[in-house]
Amino acid sequence: MKINPNKCVACGNCTYVCPMGAIYVDPANNRSTINRDECVECYSCYNGLSQEHLNPTLVRTMRGIFKALRLRFDPEPDVCPTAAFEPDELTWPRIVRRAFSDPRVPHESTGVTGRGTEEVKTNDVTGRVQLGDAGFTVEFGRPGVGVRFYEIERMAMALAKRGVTFEKKNPVTSLMTDTSTGKIKDDILNEKVMSAILELKVTADKIETVIETVREVEKTLNTVIVLGVGARCDENGEDKIVGPILERLGYTLHRAKTNTGLGKISLDRAEAAQSKEPVPTGAAR
């Protein structure tokens, strides 16, 4: 992303909306400027700010007058008055930043949409996480901190040493040169992204090992982590395996995403209806 200095009027609105705090008004030219090393190409500025198309010279003059008179200029805080943002043509490896930061674009780098996979959201249809499994999402960098791939690699390599297997369809996995070691492509290691997710599935007896590893490695990282743990419920809708282990490890289970199973109910209904359909005489079954 770049800001056109001929259009920018240094209103400062964009400095607040950047999730990475990468935009500042440069005192050298009195224009908003993007710190390219910190920018994760999330396009929050470009997509989130409403755009006016005012004449920059007029706006600068007005602002100058208000400033001289010490009048408070009180514009709408979610507007770029001169539509000064202009997307860059992104190339490898910088293109990885946008793929992991702008939720509206598919992963150009990996071909996978989104920062993770469907994990337990479609578990009632896919059956990815079975009773006694724990499907982990280890998410780095959010909220509002960001992460560089060398930090993700450090965690991935530590987890790989404990024998975990990474989800094949996950975007981070697709950027590994060796999924058995967690090694990530060298040319993207210093790229910064809004957030990225390592996905792995273990049996319940390995939950503690994964969490111990995460707790150990996170001390060496300059970012925040948030863990999600997926579990299959029993026929009564209860989780008597994974939840109790997490509570024993000190976690309070405030919030969850609950798969209601409606996808499976629809499939079961369709199968039942199909099995009741009369078979034409002579037709092979």
Binding site: C18, P143, G263
Partner: protein, 225 residues
């Protein structure tokens, strides 16, 4: 993605936060899912959702790409649900946000009856979602627990800022904007309703909860206990 899972707060703080979303399973139930996703959103309307959206096009409050300067004095703060429904044109995740459990329960019952062949999830407190499933007479299939933020948490801002910014799990609502909105509401420069709509326009999939955000802003101002 985990864009509704890791909202900051305890179970009590999610009493007015029920995100119900539908997603077709890629390669299994996504074919022909667009009209079903539209129907999912349409079914929610009688239960007065506070937001809705689809992951490809955005929520019911969106930024304007060609704003008239006179709108500064007359910004449209009304969520446009119909445009969200009309805009669904590809298999994606569609979400509806309610600010009370009863609405989420009744909606879930209706979706069950409609038999849409979509995977339906509820993102809220563990107990809140369990009660919704119980009311609809269905056992929970799977859970994805949020274990909360860890690591270098000293890099994170104060709890009220976190509560506002993490309602966009994609991270599109910056901590700075959330803090600015708290300050502006405290200063009386904007109403909580106005501040909420500024933030909601940055959420790119419509899962931001304006009702909960308004409560948090009022609590920050000190006018609500």
């Amino acid at each position: 993605m985990t864009n509704t899972l890791h909202r900051f707060g305890d179970a009590e703080s999610f009493r007015d936060d029920y995100v119900v979303f539908a997603i077709p399973a890629r390669g299994k139930t996504d074919k022909g899912s667009v009209p079903k996703l539209k129907e999912f959103l349409r079914l929610a309307l009688p239960f007065k959702p506070v937001n809705m959206g689809d992951a490809s096009h955005g929520g019911a409050l969106r930024p304007c790409q060609n704003m008239d300067p006179t709108q500064h004095w007359n910004r449209d703060m009304t969520p446009n649900f119909q445009s969200v429904i009309d805009g669904v044109d590809t298999p994606t995740t569609c979400a509806v946000v309610f600010d009370n459990r009863v609405a989420a329960e009744e909606f879930l019952k209706l979706v069950l009856k409609a038999d849409l062949n979509l995977c339906v999830n509820i993102s809220t407190s563990v107990d809140g979602a369990e009660q919704c499933c119980h009311a609809a007479g269905i056992p929970r299939h799977s859970l994805s627990y949020s274990l909360g933020f860890q690591g270098k948490t000293e890099m994170l801002p104060a709890s009220q800022v976190m509560s506002l910014s993490t309602m966009c799990g994609h991270g599109m609502i910056s901590h700075s904007l959330a803090k600015k909105m708290i300050d502006w509401v405290k200063e009386g420069r904007r109403t909580p309703e106005e501040a909420v709509t500024y933030m909601a326009r940055f959420c790119s999939c419509g899962v931001y909860n304006p009702s909960r955000a308004k409560r948090i802003l009022e609590e920050a101002r000190g006018t609500m206990k």
